[in-house]
Amino acid sequence: MSRAAILTVGAALLAVLVAVSLSRSPASAPAQAKVLKAGAFDPALPAPAFALPGSAGSEVTLASYRGKVVLLTFGFTYCATVCPTTLSTLAQAKRTLGAAGDAVQVIFVTVDPERDDAVHMRDYLAAFDPSFLGATGTPEALAAMRKAYGVTAEKHGTGSDYVMGHTSSIFLIDKGGKLRGLMPFGREPADFAHDITLLLAEPVA
């Protein structure tokens, strides 16, 4: 092999080594530990207030859960896939938190008041976690609440077998009643536990 070829190969190896060492340096700023895994609102604004008939027999208002982290989601009890998955995920996240889970309130607002009355919702939700609350109401009151949260719901099909297409994300409301985040459907219980832990650690504003 000629001297020039040896030099070329040697220099190329050197170039690759330099590049590899560069690639070992942090590719980006390390993920900030205090950032929510959910989509976060900046600035965080007060979550729209609501007062709806609840599955526990009394009215459900957002204001009554100051000091707790509220996970708010919309759905219907006849939902075959999305709602049971979400509720199981939330139940698992709450269990993961142990005693801290007592400071979490899940509120499931129906998009199907025709079939979801308070008693039916209570029985349905108890299968996931006895602390979960359902909220129902008149179609108008529920539509106003959906509008305030930017939630959509649409009836598909006719007769008794209809289904409701609806927004599947979960809203995260902090202890001071501010809407802090929106977790898309399909995230793991650990993601919820992470965000709830962060929100619970904050002082109430």
Binding site: T8, V16, S23
Partner: protein, 139 residues
């Protein structure tokens, strides 16, 4: 001899460049892929103008631009992508898993927003190819 030295220098530069492109870390200044609703959007929409602010499909790459940021600079609230965003508010949605995500989005005719999150290109061939695609995209 002079030609040989020149060829050697050119080869070194080329190999060094390829080595850098294949192994150097991806630049990640902010990690945010930002979309903004400009001021006056609601007025323009009310006057019948058809505005496409958000693409139907958004492609993100983990470690590079894996935070979808939606900013409302208009005076009215907007449903933008997966959520309702108030005036002056920014919504930042981080992704940590490569997948295709579908969101309901009333800003689009079919009511869908697709977000394709690709894995971070590994050092070597994948990163070289990624840089080549970026280069082609900017030329």
């Amino acid at each position: 001899m002079r030609w040989r030295a020149l060829a050697l220098a050119a080869a070194l530069v080329l190999l060094g460049g390829l080595g850098w492109a294949a192994f150097a870390p991806l630049p990640a200044v902010s990690r945010e892929q930002l979309y903004e609703i400009p001021p006056g959007t609601s007025v323009r929409r009310l006057s019948g103008e058809n505005l496409d602010i958000l693409p139907h499909t958004i492609q993100l790459t983990l470690g590079r631009n894996d935070v979808l940021a939606l900013r409302n600079k208009d005076a009215a609230p907007h449903i933008f992508g997966p959520t309702l965003i108030m005036p002056g508010q920014t919504f930042r949605l981080p992704f940590s898993m490569a997948s295709t995500y579908n969101f309901l989005c009333s800003a689009h005719a079919d009511g869908q927003l697709n977000i394709i999150v690709e894995p971070a290109p590994a050092p070597g061939w994948q990163r070289l190819r990624w840089r080549w695609r970026q280069l082609k995209g900017t030329v």
